[in-house]
Amino acid sequence: MNTLAFYVHIPYCVRRCGYCDFNTYTPGELSITNDFSVTSRSYIDLLLREIEYAREVSTAAIVPSIFFGGGTPTLMESKDLGRVIASISSNFELATDAEITTEANPDTVTEENLNELRAAGFNRISFGMQSAVPHVLAALDRTHNPENVLKATTWAREAGFAEVSVDLIYGTAGESMADWEQTLDTALSLPISHISAYALIVESGTKLGAQVKRGDVIMPDDDQTADKYLLADDKFTAAGFNWYELSNWSKPGSECRHNIAYWKGENWWGAGAGAHSHIDGRRFWNVKHPAAYTQKVIEAGNPMQDQEILTLEEARSEEIMLQIRLASGIPLSELSPKERSSLPGFLAGGYLLGSAWERGSLVLSQSGRLIADRIVREILV
């Protein structure tokens, strides 16, 4: 049977962080004054309608993974999130070993929450830790107390989450190498099985973007950010976390299967405001604003804003662009002579793993991962 992974987008946050360009809104921005549980319930109702719509337009499929992202999914009532899982399970066939993840804010989860989430069916949780250093967190507009992360991850383990992950951000203005090292050491002391570490991207249209443009915030240069990546990779590897995607490391067997589905070009349905889907070379996405989403679901039954059908060339570009990020790499036999032509240079420069090359695979080395986009351009031009 076909597979269909589900991404569920929760477009709400208590407050917006300065660097964030995700599709998320604060109660203030939406003029929500009543109890948030009302919003939670009605938004979830809409998600259920979209899942039913997905069932109508899809062939039967096994669901290997569900991922709740945001925004802040844990702003929703746990039992409401559970209703979504139940709906997916009843409309499709949920795999017995399905990976069901939610993102969570280490500051707001409680022991009770985590037990509820487990009860609702979640077995994987990913905490937005970002940093262990207060001034770095402050620069990111994050409010949590670094110590809460240890508490939250420990509770998650105790609640029975099989996989616990933290997200880290490096390259924040003012973050020293020592700050980053402290963050890494702290993260590695936690009871976790998975780490994502992202270099901060300054997005236009964010508060940070405006600050950088005005010159109020000076971003560290790319060479230092590259050094931070190397430090992270070395430390993670030494601690038994292996890289399996450019910005993701895990204990063996604890890779995030949901995210791998994106990189391997599998089919997934993105439910919720602004969520993107991919089914057999067709990408489509929903209207972004919760109000527009509400209206579309109620009036048209279908929240889609637009779609694109990938040409062969576009599909090929995506395939290389995504798979090159993975430790599994790309079989050389799948590359045309033209696509391969620039590779010997990169191999000689130490950007590709020689051992993998000999086995017939294109796999990026540590330094190669840092210039992956450049290598993709060389392959595709």
Partner: protein, 626 residues
């Protein structure tokens, strides 16, 4: 009313030379020549007030916009003098105002008996005007000094009258005062032209000799040649012959400009007008040449004919390589109207296919480039301009080098470069500054004179190559815009010159090579390597940038390998956006020029070859692309 209706005015071909006055106006670019000319057209009533427009005589858009008259023209103005109430015909011959066109100016002057020296009395005389004044004096022209713009609040007619008087050896009160803008004094000026400028003298019965002082290509008529008849008579019945080429032409039309073309039966002694022969290319009807008749040819040509000789060379390359045929077409078209423009195909490893072009000077170069871009909608890169060198190799071979890439390898016996005599006029407070600049540029002081209490004329000999390399910009900026410059070639001199090559990862980049004085080679090398380090984006390997004379490295820089070129996050919703970004980057990559393995953005070439201001633009663009 001193104007004479055209129909009643003395007719071309039959006008008594005693009634003729041929004059030109010598003036600096913005000293109001065109406005004064407009005013003369109005007062003599050759242009109906309804048809009058500003800068009536400047034909090309580019002339009108830049306020520069590139091509001269001659206008026939009937005039009844207010002094003796007699009928006259004034031929106003318009002269180009810029240093690059000195030869054309000299031919225009040779067609006249007198010149109006027009000076803005808020600014005083400028170097180029002075140079043209000297030319006019050498040609024994009667000079009528005129102060223009007397209506301006900043006018200082007394001060500049003294300056003019000193220059031409008259009394300050001999200077006429006019305002082209209001028309004040223009009628008196026309009367003084009649009174002071001698009538032309020639032998009506001698074999015909007419001086070509301008030659213009017209899309509909072919080449229109402007002439001044010295001896004999030109008529439509004649077959004419060019002295320099010996080629015979049919006369299709003879006429005068008043100021629209008026066909006439011919042109007599002293008269100025145009001839059309069906020639399609101005090079067959060259400025300075003598026209005679085929049946009764003159034995001796008029003096002073010269082939225009390009002094400054530069490579012109289309930004888009596919535009090369378009560039060729555009140059071919331009050459129909510009006998001084020369070009030949050139290919550069870095810039692709283009043309090596020769120009009279920097302004000529600028104008040609602008016309090519504007009229043919091309975007061009021009390489740094250089002059012509004569190189004698170790084995005694003599080579003419117009492009640094032709500079011979190996032992060089000697190199000769063109030398100019430069004249700078400026307020005396800038004497030190100007001397310092000329000294830096290998100048030799010839002399200095005070034009008035606070204005000086400084004369230097300088290598042309030094002038070509941003001398004028430097002069202007160091003197806050007050200095003016004129120069004329005076020959060549041996120079201690070397060729500096620029190497990227060991590969020579021809577009950046330069021939420079030995003492400046190091400065050029560090400047260019430094610029390139800023302009070329980091790549996945280190890029050494070197400047070298032969095999000797004189400057080096290096662009460190890029270490990070990846977006950290790529999840479901990011994929489309990231793919589109990738496609954009792929397009950008296609527009990169490859020098060996090194990708060099087009903007880097443009900026490295031009000014600092452009570098900032290129950097901004390169950043956008990243």
């Amino acid at each position: 009313m001193p104007a004479i209706p055209l129909a009643k005015a003395p007719q071309p071909s039959f006008t008594n030379p005693a009634q003729l006055r041929n004059f030109c106006i010598i003036a600096h670019i913005d000293h109001g020549k065109s406005t004064l000319a407009d005013r003369m057209l109005g007062i003599t009533e050759v242009v109906d007030p309804r048809n009058m427009r500003a800068q009536y005589l400047d034909r090309m858009d580019i002339e009108r916009e830049r306020g520069i008259t590139i091509k001269s023209q001659a206008v026939r103005l009937p005039w009844r003098s207010g002094l003796d109430n007699q009928e006259y015909v004034l031929n106003m011959i318009d002269t180009p105002g810029h240093v690059d066109f000195t030869y054309e100016v000299s031919r225009s002057l040779a067609a006249c008996e007198g010149a109006v020296l027009l000076v803005d009395c808020a600014q005083g005389i400028e170097a180029q005007t002075l140079a043209n004044l000297y030319l006019a004096m050498e040609n024994n022209l009667t000079i009528i000094p005129v102060l223009n713009k007397i209506d301006l609040p900043a006018a200082q007619p007394e001060k500049f009258a003294e300056e003019l008087a000193k220059l031409i050896g008259c009394q300050p009160e001999d200077c006429l005062r006019v305002s082209g803008k209001t028309g004040a004094g223009v009628t008196e000026l026309l009367d003084q032209i009649v009174l002071q400028i001698p009538a032309p003298v020639g032998d009506a019965n001698a074999p015909t000799r007419a001086l070509i002082f301008d030659s213009v290509y017209d899309t509909y008529r072919g080449v229109v040649t402007y002439v001044r008849v010295i001896d004999g008579h030109l008529s439509t019945r004649d077959q004419i012959q060019m002295f320099s080429t010996g080629v015979r032409h049919e006369m299709l039309e003879v006429g005068v400009i008043s100021p629209e073309p008026v066909v006439s039966k011919g042109l007599g002694v002293g008269e100025v007008g145009y001839v059309i022969t069906g020639v399609k290319d101005v090079r067959q009807s060259r400025v300075g040449d003598t026209i005679t008749t085929y049946n009764n040819p003159a034995k001796v040509a008029l003096a002073g004919y010269k082939d225009p000789r390009p002094m400054v060379f530069s490579g012109l390359f289309p930004i888009d390589g596919a535009d090369f045929p378009l560039l060729r077409e555009a140059l071919d078209k331009l050459q129909l109207n510009d006998a001084a423009l020369v070009y030949e195909p050139e290919s550069s490893a870095a810039l692709g296919f283009g043309f090596r072009c020769g120009f009279l000077g920097l302004l000529h170069m600028e104008i040609v480039r602008e016309r090519l871009e504007r009229e043919s909608n091309l975007t061009l890169i021009s390489t740094a301009p250089n002059v012509v060198y004569s190189v004698t190799t170790g084995d005694g071979q003599l080579l003419t080098v117009t492009n640094p890439s032709e500079y011979p390898e190996g032992k060089i016996e000697k190199v000769e470069e063109p030398i100019v005599r430069a004249t700078v006029l400026a307020p005396s407070e800038f004497i030190g500054t100007i001397m310092e600049l000329c000294q830096e540029r290998r100048g030799t002081l010839l002399g200095m004179d005070y034009l008035s209490e606070d204005r000086v004329e400084i004369r230097y000999t300088l290598p042309l190559a030094e002038i070509v390399f941003d001398f004028f910009d430097q002069l202007k900026s160091r003197t806050r815009g007050y200095a003016s410059l004129d120069y004329e070639p005076i020959g060549t001199a041996e120079g201690d010159l070397v060729k500096v090559d620029i190497l990227l990862q060991g590969e020579k980049v021809d577009a950046f090579s330069a021939i420079v004085h030995k003492d400046k080679a190091y400065a050029y090398g560090t400047m260019m390597t430094g610029k390139l380090r800023e302009l070329i984006p980091r790549q996945q390997f280190e890029i050494p940038i070197q400047a070298a004379i032969g095999g000797r490295i004189i400057a080096r820089e290096s662009i460190r390998a890029i270490r990070k070129d990846v977006l950290a996050k790529c999840y479901g919703g990011d994929i489309s956006r990231k793919r589109k970004l990738l496609e954009k980057q792929k397009e950008g990559k296609k527009r990169m020029k490859m020098v060996g393995r090194v990708e060099v953005p087009q903007e880097a070439f443009v900026a490295a070859l031009t000014t600092d201001a452009d570098i900032d633009k290129a950097k901004a663009k390169a950043k956008e692309r990243e």
